[in-house]
């Protein structure tokens, strides 16, 4: 893959040129956290952001969108929410998340709503630095080799830019004078040092390879009931997860006529009605059963189908769950490891 250099000062001029005919999405501040949003002033772009509150899946499949408009003539496909976009500042773990969704949405039946949105979005990745909640090195998703058009590694004074696709190459050709084709030995050494330091910055690890068997062996372990007692069934973990993709479909009829629309919106397997069928039979009435489904699906079942877990170590569930049920604490509990005082706090505050 071709790698070139971009001076820091040249980033905004470059983004300006390429975003003329598309919406530019990038991480920006929201309170003391970050979100992906449409950028109209480059000064809003946060180059050193940690994880955004919601993962980039919201850009491809918004929390709610129209699949069809309906009238007396029947159903008419609606793709009006899909526009040409450039997504800048997406971290390696989130690109891995998109690759997982790509696999899923192309398995068996193709999902045109996801795939059309994906086709209309250019991916400009950006390197990141782990914080205490990140465990992407354990899932081997802290680095990325595919799934982007361009990838920017931030080396303080300049970026190294990986050109990952023909479309990425086209972007560079819009303003080639901003880039430097020649890398010096010093540039390369700077990159090697950066990589070594970054690797060291990941603290702790989770043995994901051991988890599928442990989930099987501990299927009836009381730990699930304990977690179920604490779980609020709020669905936040699924909303913030970059690979959670369950949805519900609802018809909405406008007042006074036959016109309306078919809407698709995010759903969560941790919610009580998730597995309920017409007539009231609910196959997962217990919170512990629904939590077990979430963790079994991500850390065991997905591996048997796609060869890797559907967790990318972004840490969103870690920072989001109000009662600390997340891949890190559940993973460690399954592995029989003391999870940073989790069970201590858990026993004190939740299971009195």
């Amino acid at each position: 893959m071709r790698i070139i250099k971009l001076k820091k000062d040249n980033l905004f001029p470059f983004l300006e040129v390429i975003s003329e005919e598309a919406d530019l999405w990038a991480p920006a501040k929201k309170g003391d956290r970050h979100i992906f949003k449409v950028i109209d002033d480059f000064a809003q772009i946060e180059l050193n952001s940690t994880r955004t509150i919601l993962p980039p899946k919201k850009i491809f499949l918004p929390p709610s969108f129209d699949m069809f408009s309906i009238s007396e003539e029947g159903y008419k496909e609606d793709f009006s929410h899909i526009t040409k976009k450039i997504l800048f500042g997406i971290h390696p773990c989130d690109i891995h998340g998109l690759l997982i969704l790509d696999n899923f949405y192309q398995h068996a039946f193709l999902d045109p709503y996801y795939l059309e949105a994906r086709k209309n979005t250019l991916i400009l990745g950006l390197s990141c630095w782990p914080d205490e909640y990140c465990f992407a090195k354990s899932t081997n998703t802290h680095i990325i080799e595919e799934g982007f058009d361009l990838f920017f590694t931030d080396l303080k004074d300049f970026f190294l830019v990986w050109i990952g696709s023909s479309q990425g190459d086209d972007l560079i050709r819009l303003k080639p004078e901003l880039f430097d084709e020649k890398l010096t030995d010093k540039d390369i050494q700077t990159y090697i040092n950066w990589q070594t330091e970054r690797d060291k910055a990941y603290k702790g690890s989770i043995n994901f390879v051991a988890l599928p068997d442990l989930i099987e062996l501990k299927y009836s372990d009381p730990l699930w009931e304990k977690l179920g007692d604490a779980c609020l069934a709020c669905g936040s973990c699924t909303n913030v997860c970059p690979t959670c993709n369950c949805y519900n479909v609802m018809d909405k009829q406008f007042l006074g006529g036959k016109d309306g629309k078919v809407m698709r919106h995010w759903d969560a397997c941790t919610l009580e009605e998730y597995s309920e069928v017409a007539g009231g039979e609910n196959f997962r009435k217990k919170r512990s059963d629904r939590l077990k489904l979430w963790y079994t699906h991500k850390l065991q079942a997905f591996i048997s189908k796609y060869g890797k877990p559907s967790c990318v170590g972004c840490g969103r569930c870690v920072v989001t769950c109000p009662v600390d049920i997340n891949v890190r604490t559940v993973g460690k509990a399954l592995l029989g490891e003391e999870a940073e005082g989790f069970w201590v706090r858990f026993n004190r505050e939740v299971t009195k």
Binding site: M67, F79, A278, F283
Partner: protein, 286 residues
């Protein structure tokens, strides 16, 4: 590629196909029979499916829900459904009349492994609305009678009035190429001439079976499976020849929405027909 001039590079699997209700009538107090034809004649005639598969039916403004195909692919053209009024979509369907338009897409799911069942004995055990998918395979066996060996049917309902297709099944008793036993839990009419009791009480009436060459097919309310499977296992029918079709919340039918997920499979893609071995192997199935 913005706005209106977007062109899909592939078909949208979520788009319903217009279909017309040809005939509808009550089978029991809360179950209705629907005969449906896809409006596009070419599509109606070329529509292929397997017994045990299901389809998504939609009513404009009310939504979409999965239903077992109750007709047999050996009688092409018309598609049949037995539908119990249980929610928003079925309530809307019950209000519809003959000649009304509905949305249709399918067929979905794996269906029964018919090719494996050829030249074998077929034992069908039905409870209540479980008749919806099993009627398809029963009629298929009868239409292709020389492809199968013995065909037997054990059918249970709560009361005579709740036995779906009661007259059709009573007339089956006269057929020589089908062993048919019927039961009701409770006869409130006083006129029931068949067995009284739950469906498992019909097992002793079966003539001796050849277990290793028998496929046992089960569908009924959730509570029924445990008891019927026990009988089939006692008869020594191999675990991978005990087939059942299961209900889950199949909202999209194409393995995307997630609601019917069990372990590593989606009921709508890898089911709804499972073997008893699947049940032992994958927890949560029944």
């Amino acid at each position: 590629m913005n706005g209106e001039n977007k062109q899909l590079t592939h078909a949208n699997p979520f788009t319903p196909e217009p279909a017309r209700i040809v005939r509808t009538y009550y089978l029991t107090e809360d179950v209705k029979f629907f005969q449906v034809r896809i409006v596009d004649v070419e599509k109606a005639l070329s529509f292929k499916y397997r017994p045990g598969q299901f389809a998504m039916i939609s009513v404009l403004g009310a939504g979409e829900a999965p239903f077992s195909l109750s007709s047999t692919p050996s009688r092409p053209g018309l598609l049949e459904f037995c539908i119990r009024k249980a929610g928003t979509v079925t309530s809307a369907l019950f209000r519809m009349k003959e000649n009304d338009l509905i949305g249709f897409r399918g067929p979905y799911g794996n269906g029964f492994p018919i090719e494996r069942m050829y030249d074998k004995d077929i034992l069908i055990v039905v409870g209540g609305l479980g008749v919806a998918p099993l009627r398809s395979v029963l009629l298929f066996c009868l239409d292709n009678r020389d492809q199968f060996r013995r065909v037997s049917l054990l059918h249970g309902a709560k009361r005579p009035a709740e036995m779906i297709f009661r007259e059709e099944f009573l007339s089956f008793k006269e057929r020589e190429d089908l062993e048919c036993h019927l039961a009701v839990d409770d006869d409130d009419t006083g006129a029931w001439t068949e067995k009284i009791g739950v469906v498992t009480t019909l097992f002793p009436l079966l003539k001796e079976i050849d277990p290793t060459n028998t496929f046992g097919l089960v569908c009924g309310p959730p509570v029924m499976y445990k008891f019927v499977i026990k009988e089939l296992v006692n008869l020594k029918i191999p675990k991978d020849q005990i087939l059942m079709t299961l209900e889950r919340r199949m909202k999209c039918g194409v393995g995307k929405c997630g609601h019917c997920a069990i372990d590593y499979i989606y009921t709508c893609l890898d089911g709804p027909v499972f073997t008893y071995w699947d049940v032992i192997h994958m927890r949560e199935l029944i």
